[in-house]
Symmetry: C2
Subunit: 149 residues, 2 copies
DNA sequence: CGTGTACAATTGAGGACGCAACCAACTGTA
DNA sequence: TACAGTTGGTTGCGTCCTCAATTGTACACG
């Protein structure tokens, strides 16, 4: 998760503004964008749908619906898993990578414009780190050595 | 906005857990709770609907629907404004104050339990302060001298 | 080799919320 | 008084997301 992702979650109105811009210019919602980015960062440009859900802080059903849209326009496709027939990978297509590439520059600029002058780089990092530490709070599956109990 | 409110916004799963508990025990969603609290804190225990919307980071239509529920169970009622016939106040009733009182202790305990061990008090304050500084980010009505521009 | 439990993914139903459009009332200008 | 522009509030509609239930597969255990 990039540094500012958690900050956007805390700021509904900022997220809306960004999402609207992204949608107008590239036909992507903020969640679409983050899904593409998660896939682009992943090994082989693909992720199990369950893992993508965790990464986006969505339920599996939310991911199914999110990917529906991305699959229908060819930015993501399904890929089978050889070792486990239950899992379906979400695989970033070349078109998806291109779209992400096209959107990322403007998007990151928008983010910088939003945060600039409000938060120093140091603060941004500290904040993101602290929020990161809280991520998964309240998640029933949270036992990944978070320095807890 | 209390210190942890912004932190909950950044943590969807934690917010869901709290909301579920609140709903099971007191019949209130997290937003219901925060609306009651905003009214309880306000002068005369009442707020213009527009102001409540800003406080809860909701649009006016969201507030209309949120208050629908609270009005239907008698926790909030409508009150007219003498000087401006357009405005309707959301007025906390005695029942609403009682319900808030009943819920607050357990709720704050739940929050403490969630955050405890992850964040020191100092970190909590620093984080909340920084998030506070970002609040309203992207809001078109943001011209309150945020050191921007 | 069946049988029970766990898990990935999807589907149907419903909730929360934003946006756009709307109405009513306030304000300033002439 | 007449009119335009702004603001408070509500409603219709669409979107996104969760929850609960379901299907198909994996894996342990007798």
């Amino acid at each position: 998760m990039r540094a500012w992702t958690a900050l956007l979650r805390a700021n509904a109105s900022a997220a809306r503004v960004l999402s609207a811009g992204l949608e107008a210019e590239h036909g992507l919602t903020l969640n679409d964008y983050e899904a593409l980015q998660a896939l682009a960062d992943a090994e082989g440009r693909r992720l199990k749908r369950v893992d993508l859900a965790r990464r986006l802080v969505l339920t599996p059903s939310g991911v199914t619906r999110l990917l529906e849209g991305l699959e229908s326009v060819g930015l993501v496709e399904r890929a089978a898993c050889e070792s486990d027939l239950r899992v379906t990978y979400a695989q970033l297509t070349d078109a998806g990578a291109d779209r992400l590439e096209a959107a990322s520059c403007g998007h990151e600029g928008s983010i910088r414009a939003l945060f600039e002058g409000r938060l120093s780089d140091g603060e941004l990092v500290a904040l993101a780190e602290a929020l990161e530490r809280l991520s998964g709070l309240g998640d029933p599956t949270e036992d990944e050595g978070n320095g807890f109990g």
